[in-house]
Amino acid sequence: MGRVRRTFDIRAQPGFGFIALLTFFGLYLPIAALVVYSFNGAESLSRWGGFSLRWFVSAWQNSTVQDAAIRSLVLAIWAATLATIAATMAALATTRTPPYPGLTFKYAFINQPLMVPEIVTAVALLIVFSRIKVWTGYTGLGYLVMAHTAFCIPFAYLPIRARLEGMDLTLERAAADLYATPWKTFRHVTLPLLRPAIVAGFMLAFVISLDDVVITEFVKSGGQDTLPTYMLGQLRRETSPEINAIATVFLVLSVLLVTVFFFVNRRKP
């Protein structure tokens, strides 16, 4: 017949539904199973023994889990805060100046943690921080905060930069025309407009810090297990559904934060 399709619609491609379904199953079925078995009454990861909250209770009462969870949160707050401050400054510096040679290099430099394999960063930090630990004798949480801040920066930087690039420059120009100093312009015009992106960047950085295993495992000093490294350590012996319960809480927290990120980011000023 030779009828030409007017618009290209990916959903009309043959097999789209099947592949989409397969992907959803592949991605979400294991997670769904993990969540379901966290409510298992029996001490089993494959046999159902009735609905129960006992693993949540036992995880909640496990003081090692409590310590690790608090440490994870403290670390994530520190790292996300520092990373967001650095990322905001970097974003301003790379969008509010006329393009100059070396700018692309700076983009790449800021986003370096996205490119370099995590294990490389981890080993490098292990070597450097070990030296510093020997010299200074300080073995506190500062190293983890530094390491996490470093790899969180690009995650906070990207949404903030995107926002700055999309913002209407006339407002800032108007402020300048009305004799506002650069600082006042920033304080009263740019920053309020940027706030949603900053919050979004913070959330993203927070989740990234909360989830990290590899770098944390290499950089941590004595007594600095975070929730993910604690969970990793449990795997040598057979795991009980308590790990599922912890993972479920972890998952809900992450999803919650990402959802907030989504809504904050979508809101128009």
């Binding site: 089993s44 990861l45 494959s46 046999r47 090692t64 608090i70 403290v74 670390l75 707050i77 520190w78 292990l126 070597i127 921080f129 070990s130 030296r131 510093i132 630990k133 020997v134 004798g137 300080y138 073995t139 506190g140 949480l141 500062g142 905060v145 495992e217 290499f218 941590k220 000093s221 004595g222 007594g223 600095q224 297990d225 490294t229 604690y230 990793l232 350590g233 449990q234 795997l235 040598r236 012996r237 057979e238």
Partner: protein, 344 residues
């Protein structure tokens, strides 16, 4: 609003940087995750007024890498038997002479002159175990003290076998079964080993870690696996029996050592002596479910462990057990090739 923010910031700052200074009365233990009895630690803390911090690792290599780099702040580490010599050779361990400590008399003679620490100048036993055979006797009633259970399985067991996915354990038992010795580079024999494994594998159902669930439930009728897991399976299903492969089976042991750059050497020595006390060693076993190598600790264990045939090696099989030495790299390469072929 403002004071709240300030208070929160202050609290976070305190949380973050508290506990970084090395105060007196501390002990930093670097151990496998989920392996240290909290009750035992509590008792140690209360007895000596020492604050214990436990940090987990998930492999011998991670632990070695972190300690080798320095600045780790740990006092005690618990490496596996085949790693202890690496630690000693690299000068990472303190020669703490546990053999001169008060409670050393409690260490079972079998675990004193071990190949990785002759006379125990560096380490004391933490937990040991072995890889053996577990069979559901409802399915198969014949002799189970042999590797034939999984290498030449009787018809009843074909298709219902699980083998531990550990290269050294599998190759060791097969080499022994065919009359060789560990670390052999006899190509003729190794060819037979490969053929035997390739021939046996189709008769297995799986090579994975879910034995404590699937053996008692009847999904597996026989396993070649670690004794602690088979003991826990038997607790759920009394039809399961443990067998010691008479041709040869591998032992494993993790031992407690003090690091050379430990800050709390005296406390670490107290800890070493403490865990050689039968009652305290029993607490470790009750938690980790393996035997500990301390004489007289059995009577302090939970009743179901005291008479466990998995933990007490019968004298006639004692000679069949062996600790796996680290083979020469070229031998290791041959073994890895067999293993890779088996994985296909």
């Amino acid at each position: 609003m403002k004071w709240k923010t300030k208070a929160a910031t202050a609290a976070i700052a305190l949380l973050a940087f508290a506990g970084s200074a090395a105060a007196e009365g501390e002990l930093n233990i670097f151990n496998w995750g989920d392996y240290t009895s909290p009750e035992m630690i509590k008792k140690f803390e209360d007895t000596y007024k020492i604050k214990v911090t436990i940090t987990d690792y998930d492999s011998n290599d991670t632990a070695l890498a972190k300690v080798r780099a320095g600045g780790h702040g740990f006092d005690i580490v618990v490496p596996s038997a085949n790693y202890v010599q690496i630690w000693v050779k690299e000068g990472l361990l303190l020669e703490a002479r546990p053999d001169q400590m008060e409670n050393f008399k409690n260490v079972d003679e079998r675990w004193v002159n071990v190949p990785w620490d002759e006379g125990r100048h560096y380490t004391v036993p933490w937990q040991w175990g072995l890889t053996g055979v577990g069979v559901n006797t409802k399915v198969y009633g014949g002799d189970i003290n042999t590797s034939a259970i999984w290498l030449d399985p009787p018809a009843e067991l074909v298709g219902k076998i699980n083998v531990a996915p550990e290269m050294n354990d599998v190759l060791f038992a097969t080499i022994k079964y065919l009359g060789g010795d560990w670390c052999t580079d006899d190509k003729e024999l190794l060819k037979k080993v490969r053929d035997k494994l390739v021939e046996a594998k189709p008769k297995w159902l799986a090579m994975d870690y879910s034995v404590t669930e699937k053996l008692p439930a009847g999904d597996y009728a026989a396993v070649y696996y670690w004794n602690g897991a088979i003991m826990r399976s038997r607790a759920k299903n009394p039809d399961i029996k443990f067998g010691y492969p008479k041709e040869g089976f591998p032992y494993f042991m993790d031992s407690v050592a003090i690091l050379k750059d430990a800050k709390n050497v005296e406390n670490a020595k107290l800890f070493m002596n403490f865990i050689m006390e039968p009652e305290n060693a029993a607490m470790i076993s009750a938690f980790a479910k393996y035997a500990n190598g301390i004489k007289g600790s059995m009577q302090f264990m939970p009743p179901e462990m005291q008479s466990a045939p998995e933990l007490v090696v019968p004298p006639e099989f004692e000679k069949a057990g062996e600790f796996l030495a680290t083979c020469a790299p070229e031998v290791q390469q041959l073994y890895t090739r067999i293993w890779t072929e088996l994985q296909k």
